[in-house]
């Protein structure tokens, strides 16, 4: 029988519903694999065996009673530790937040996944307060890249990427403010969905930049992304920007193929300033989709700069009291950026917000011509752990600030993206962003599923 610890979520749920396997057996196998493998990867900060096994027994008991089980029945999952887990302080990768009172209830998305039958097994490592692209953390240690333990997992959802890439759980939740789902998805070779801004509730999660924060799933199959995404949709008055739109399930059209979708590669800014392999990954996907067209995303460099400013300013405002009283307890790299962010003159930030309005309108115009845009997720493969600079296009640049050059202009206006893992050779994986117009996650997921079905993209877990 297939090892239940590394099965895809859809296969686990099908087997549990059919009675071929019990939820307890799945959870026990996953807990054993975490105990064996995570000493090397360091993806988990909290493992919850008692809670998970109690929940598994409840799923098995419901089946024994003849009750209908949910679409994620028996599926173990874990969440970035900025999402509330009842009974634990929501540390958000920090030392300071460990002094908070334990969360009184789970975050909204945890509750929605468990209502669909899934089983929370733990909390995942992350960059401090999500201000990170590396997956490194001075308090909890770095999450290592499961495909090469000497390299970065990417961040800030590094534990989520590490857990999926290492085959520790089939499903994880991350957050993405400037690329924090898409970067670790690329480095760790997994699929990630950053939905439209406002699509999935963020209630019960620790914020970073309110006007840029998204939550979303990461997995080793597109079907698992879509299944979990559908289970998490729906309005939520507890998140002021959660959409009031009715849920728009992606599963019914997931296997519809690409039909006559208008697909183009992003040119200009997105076709330079990175390693050749990053652009080869995009061209590989485009060729398999029969796409030779390129479009120019207007003023992408300014969009990135504006996102950078807004992030620093909003993040600093959020943390101002902590900077006043506990500055020495921050990760120094985070602290120095936040202090600088607090000092930005207000007109700089207001200008960035006004530019955002223009850029959003320009992008909506572009989506009248195309349905899907392909762009690299990162400018390179995973750098070495602790690496401070890298060379892109012959220019030496700081790693931390520049891993997100291709993700920031996209999340700046909340566009939905499926990050797909691509292998152009025997080396480490790369990622490509499959970008759609607002509220068209279904199209991005369809394209990703088409690529997966044709064997162009896949997310095998690391052999550990």
């Amino acid at each position: 029988m297939t090892d239940p610890s590394t099965m895809h979520a859809a296969d686990i749920a099908g087997s549990v519903r059919d009675g071929a396997i019990s939820a307890r057996l799945v959870v026990e196998a996953v807990l054993a694999r975490i105990a064996r493998v995570d000493t090397a990867v360091n993806a988990f900060t909290d493992v919850l065996p008692e809670r998970a096994l109690t929940r598994a027994d409840a799923v098995d008991a419901a089946r024994a009673r003849g009750e209908a089980l949910g679409p994620l029945a028996g599926v173990p999952f874990a969440v970035k530790n900025l999402i509330d887990i009842a009974g634990l302080p929501t540390r958000a990768g920090s030392k300071i937040n460990r002094d908070l009172a334990p969360a009184r209830r789970d975050g909204a998305l945890v509750r929605r996944l468990e209502a669909a039958g899934a089983i929370l097994v733990g909390g995942l490592n992350m960059g401090e307060y999500a201000y990170d692209f590396t997956g490194e953390n001075v308090h909890d240690g770095a999450t290592r890249n499961p495909h090469d333990l000497g390299r970065m997992s990417g961040g800030s959802s590094g534990g989520s990427g590490g857990a999926i890439g290492a085959g520790l759980v089939p499903l994880a939740l991350g957050s993405d403010t400037n690329g924090s789902i898409r970067v670790p998805s690329a480095f760790c070779g997994c699929f990630g969905l950053k939905p439209t801004y406002g699509r999935l509730t963020r209630a019960g999660s620790f914020p970073f930049v309110g006007s840029l924060d998204h939550l979303g799933p990461m997995a080793r199959s597109v079907t698992d992304l879509a299944l979990s995404y559908d289970a998490m949709q729906g309005p939520d008055p507890d998140d002021p920007v959660a959409t009031t739109r009715a849920p728009d399930p992606a599963m019914p059209s997931l296997d519809d193929g690409i039909g006559d979708l208008r697909i183009a590669m992003a040119g200009g800014y997105f076709a330079r300033g990175g390693d050749n392999e990053a652009f080869m990954a995009v061209e590989t996907l485009a060729a398999s989709l029969g796409c030779g067209r390129r479009v120019e995303i207007p003023e992408a460099a300014r969009a990135r700069a504006a996102a950078y400013l807004i992030t620093a300013a909003e993040g600093a405002a959020l943390h101002l009291d902590r900077l006043r009283t506990r500055a020495a307890d921050f990760d120094p790299a985070v602290r120095d950026r936040l202090i600088a962010g607090a000092m930005i003159p207000a007109p700089f930030v207001e200008r960035a917000q006004r530019f955002r309005r223009w850029y959003r309108a320009a992008m909506l115009d572009l989506f009248r011509e195309v349905d899907i845009i392909l762009a690299p997720s990162t400018p390179c493969r995973a750098p070495k752990s602790g690496q401070v600079t890298f060379e892109l296009d012959g220019v030496t640049l700081p790693v931390r600030a520049n891993i997100g050059v291709f993700t920031q202009p996209i999340s700046f206006i909340g566009l939905p993206v499926v990050a797909v893992p691509v292998r152009v050779d025997d080396g480490l994986p790369l990622g490509v962003q499959v970008i759609a117009a607002p509220w068209r996650e279904d199209l991005a997921l369809r394209v990703a599923r088409h690529l997966e079905r044709n064997g162009v993209v896949s997310a095998p877990h690391a052999i550990l």
Binding site: A305, I344, A352, R360
Partner: protein, 68 residues
Amino acid sequence: MAEMPKTEPASGGLDAYIDAASALLGIPLDPAWVAAVGANLTVLQGAAGLVAGFPLPDEAEPAPVFAA
């Protein structure tokens, strides 16, 4: 492309601004942090210059929280 444009520190250097701003904001600043804060502020200044270089009509409203 990838790097923010290089900018010269504000007239008179940023150290005086950082000192004044830390007092205004009530953030006690360890002298050892000033250089790193200044480096970050310089990058942010470059980003602001890039954004400011794009002409916007006076009617362009900010989009702090927006419907995607």
